[in-house]
Each structure stands twice: as structure tokens, then as C-alpha cells.
Subunit: 142 residues, 2 copies
Amino acid sequence: MFRRPRTLRYELRPIGWVESPLTVARLAPRQGDEGAPDAWLRFDPAVSEGIRDLQVDTDIIVLTWLDRARRDVLTVHPRGDVRSPLTGVFSTRSPDRPNPIGLHTVHVLDISGARVHVRNLEALDRTPILDVKPLLGPIAQR
Amino acid sequence: MFRRPRTLRYELRPIGWVESPLTVARLAPRQGDEGAPDAWLRFDPAVSEGIRDLQVDTDIIVLTWLDRARRDVLTVHPRGDVRSPLTGVFSTRSPDRPNPIGLHTVHVLDISGARVHVRNLEALDRTPILDVKPLLGPIAQR
């Protein structure tokens, strides 16, 4: 039997926001390594303890909420090319998907209080930040 | 000025659930490659179009909601070892964090309708699934 969890909805509370020159989805690069600009991650002062060990010149994973995406889309033409066959969104990196969570690996350029400067982030200005994780090295952390 | 987005809360709607022999958090491995069992991803039939292009013998990224984690934690002892100095959660893979999103890279062993069998998943039984993404190859997809 399909034993569903008790709860069917969960509430995300952003921990910060992206500050970027990218403001128009149509003009945003599809991936960070396709010409995305540097951007600032601006954290809510309430989570400053959580970011205190971030370090300049390391790579981090940033999870965002792509708040301008569509949530009712299950198939897309990859990279928006109508000549490509319709593909299930879970086999693509389309921002349009039931839970539009953005996954970005970025390099930390600078840290200034609760602001973290990162390289090549394709998220739009004011995109909410959900989480930050280290890239795992040989020794996994928890 | 800190230009916050208009919305400060977002709603996650799980697209499926994990079926795993792992039921007790205390006994779960800290990472998938530390002895985690194989598990099934069981998708809601409502998103079957979205998973239709998943393929056996590929690697995928699975995002989950770690529903048994604590959200009020900002510093932890890495790997639960009290001899390790307290560390900001965003520099660790602790499940306890403001938005407890699990990030798992797994290998697809089998697909049977809306059930996908994967190798070495450290998520607990009944953990909600939020999203699935391809690992990016040389050509980024969208």
C-alpha cells in the first residue's frame, strides 16, 4: 500500500535573497556557467550564526526558490527549443516544475557580514534563498 | 536597502515519498555512500508525465523534505561528534537546518510504473520527495 506521510504540505521560510543584475527571466542564462553574472547572497540577520563558517574561495551549493517559475508544468521542450521533443521536467533543469527549487554550485568570492559575493549565479534578482550546503569532500560532514 | 521579495512563505507539495527499510533516524547513515540501503521512490500518479523520461542506469539528483529534522538549529557539532567545534549549519550537511531539504545523488536501478528503485539512499522511510533533476552533463538541459 501507498503509505503517505501524514502531512501533505510544508512551509518554506527563505533565509535570504539574491541580489543580482539579472532581472528578466527571458534574458537569464540557463546555467551559471553560461555567462551568468556574479551576485550577492544576502542573508537574513536571523540566520547569521548559520553562515558564520562560510569561507572565501570555497565552492558551495545554494538552493533557491524560483519564485517566477510555473508549478503546473510537467513536460517541457529542453532549453526552450521547440524542435526538441517534449520531455518530463524531472529529466530536465527547467525552472518550471511542481516545486521550483533551484540548485546552484557557486564559488565564494567575498564575505561581508551577512552578504556573500558569489561567481556566476543564474538566479534572478530577489530570488529567495532556501539553503546553503558545502560541496562534500572526501570526508562527509553533518 | 534590503529589498525583500513580497512573499515570505512558500508552500511545498511533495511529488512522492521514499520507501526504505530505514525507519529510525539514529541508525541512518550520514551519507548515501556510507552504507545506505537501496530504496524506492514512489511518485504521486499526478506527476507521472514528469517522470516519464527517467532512465535505468543513470544518476539523478533527488531533493527531499527531511520531515523529522529540527528547523530551529543554526549550529551543530559536525557528524554529531561533540569533540568537533560547533559549526554553522550552512557549512555542514546536518539535516537540522531552517529549511531541511535533503540533497541526494543516486543511481537508478529499476523503474516500474511510478516507482523508481535507487541505490544507496540515506533518507528515512516515508520521507517526502520534492524534486528530481538530472546530473548535468557537458550539455546543460532546461
